[in-house]
């Protein structure tokens, strides 16, 4: 990679209070990790409440789990794991100046995310129909904002990647949103056994 594009990218995206682009990337990453910690703690509260109620009402929990389809849950888990993989690839290609592969992998990530949401939509409408939402058992699932937020963010960096904003000198947003998307995946990995696999 030539030195001039490096300098141009530094000049365009480096904010005035940072001495170097590297310092800016490191700082942004610290900020993102801290934010992810807050998300985990928020869900941590829900998990604690969930675990406690499960101990108090074990029969209700088993009954609640019968309303969920394990196969659909497993398919969704696979979708999210795949989306995390394509996200990693997108970050890799963005950091190695491969624009078209970046855009393609972001597109694939979006595709998996939408597939996940479509399945969720059918599950939710079914539970609304059964009168289970909102309720004690399913309030964990009700805080389902993160995937939607993730989709908006991934779309945004896809547009920017397509525009050629990112290069090995500056790919901070791809990196950060990648981290966020892995968190969505991670939370689901915990939710899946908690909600679908209890018996």
């Amino acid at each position: 990679m030539s030195n001039t594009t490096h300098d141009v990218a530094e000049h365009r995206f480096r904010q005035h209070h940072f001495a170097t682009a590297e310092q800016q990337l490191d700082t942004s990453k610290i900020g993102m990790w801290l934010f992810l910690a807050t998300e985990i703690l928020m869900f941590g509260g829900l998990f604690v409440g969930f675990g406690l109620m499960q101990g108090v009402y074990p029969e209700a929990w088993v009954a609640g789990h019968h309303h969920l389809d394990r196969v659909l849950g497993a398919v969704n888990t696979v979708f999210l794991l795949c989306s995390s993989f394509t996200m990693v690839m997108a970050v890799h290609y963005a950091s190695t100046d491969q624009k078209s592969k970046t855009v393609m992998n972001l597109g694939l990530t979006l595709g998996f995310a939408f597939a996940f949401l479509v399945i969720k939509y059918f599950e939710y409408s079914h539970k609304f129909h059964d009168g289970l939402l909102p309720g004690r058992y399913f309030n964990l699932a009700a805080v389902g904002g993160p995937p939607q937020i993730g989709i908006i963010l991934i779309s945004w960096i896809m547009v920017r990647a397509n525009r050629g904003d990112f290069s090995s000198a500056y790919y901070t947003p791809v990196d950060l949103i990648g981290l966020y998307w892995h968190l969505v995946d991670l939370i689901w990995i915990y939710l899946f056994p908690l909600l679908y696999l209890v018996s």
């Binding site: 005035h16 700082t27 900020g31 703690l41 604690v48």
Partner: protein, 548 residues
Amino acid sequence: MADIITTPHISGHADHHDVDYLHDGKGLKSWLTTVDHKRIGVMYLWSILFMFFLGGVFAMMIRLELLTPKETIMSAETYNKVFTLHGAIMVFLFIIPSVPAALANFVLPLMLGAKDVAFPKLNLFSWYIYMAGAFIAVAAMVTGGVDTGWTFYTPYSTTTDGSVALMTFAAFVLGFSSILTGVNFVATIHKLRAPGMGWFDMPLFCWGIYATALIQVLATPVLAITLLLLIMERTFGIGIFDPKLGGDPVLFQHFFWFYSHPAVYIMILPGMAIISEIIPTFSQKTIFGYRAIAFSSVAIALVSFIVWGHHMFTSGQSQLASAIFSFITFFVAVPSAIKTFNWIVTMYKGSVAFNAPMLYALSFLLLFGIGGLTGIFLGAVSVDIHLHDTYFVVAHFHYVMMGSTVIAFLGGLHYWWPKMFGRMYSEPAARVACALVFIGFNATFLPQFVLGSRGMPRRYYNYLPEFQALHQASTVGSWILGLGFLIMAGYLFASLRKKMDAPANPWHSRTLEWQTSSPPITHNFHEIPAVGGGPYDYYRPVGNGRNA
């Protein structure tokens, strides 16, 4: 590293770079769209001072009502709402953002020799979130009010009338403002220290703010989810906290105090951080035990997460849990005492100047001593069973929240006022106000220790006739306190009408924020300072001693 030290200062464009931050851009819009940490700090300052005024008015109303048993100026229902609003406003809208979001926002980057905080736009965004939370809180007040107390205990909070959901939502929103400030400061301290400034070259204020920011980031989300669940319980009846629906009200208490006890340290640690600056400056002496003070801040932050159960000794939690929580609570006294003794020793053989900030710092030492030690009483399970929910508790936490944090905040305000606004206030008036605040505060809250130990329950509207004399002493004290604040508002506003007259370093401090002009230029420093020595090298000559 060499390229970091080169600065963007171009002598040809001196006029833009030399304008102080107050005059760089005119009009309301230039303030509302600013990303300058100093301007955002000032906007926060005026916002929280307004909230302090509002919460203070409610406090005066509470004290006036308690002048006599039964009705004095308001009904019992109004009284419940007034003390709830006093607590909620003071905690969520004033104390928590007071030092971090207002004062630290202004001075932290300056102390580190940075041009701004790590995420300037996020910083502005957090102010807007704060304002949104404030408006929602005001909306909750005018649309029915809240009578639950600031702790929102279930099941009362899920069944009572009024705007509980809206007020809870306001606290939820304000929590995010606090989280973003915390994220910003942690990243700033990690990555934006001036070249050559290691962790142990930072002023101790930065250590205190770092510990605070960690708690803000790690505790506040739990409050957020708790309040969200409370709102869902109230609106949909999901049955997690309300025993009628099969929920567990003690779970709410656990969740609430898992945040709200660390939140106590969100309030006190920045106060301690300010004291660690004022005492060496006005003693003109190197701080004693730098590392001990720095590590004790972090120790307090860590221990703060495992003491929440001491709020729940009477909730029916197991005796073993109570004993463990009690023991860990005693442990908090160790780092606090380490700090206190180090501050006292710092003054020993120093050339102590009794300017207004130092008077506040000395008041802090005394009041924090009382507030902290009465906390040990309450941390002992058997004593707490007797004193639980009495005025003793009220007096204890006011000695910590107001006698320590607010006093330290006022000390910091007086200390950095010349830096923030470029003007000196009237020193004699400031000393008088400080004396009145100190006397008024003690007159208000010392009698409450006695009231509590004799069995006066907190939050009660009515009381037995034998308590009246002490209640009246407390109310008279609140008037003295109010007078002190009135005088303070008078001379501070008067100073703003003067021409700028503050020297760059009126207190002869060695920390970096005093090495730039008062008020600072927009980019803080003409040249990014290269740090050679420690922040408390008072054995060196003042001026460019550190930056040479």
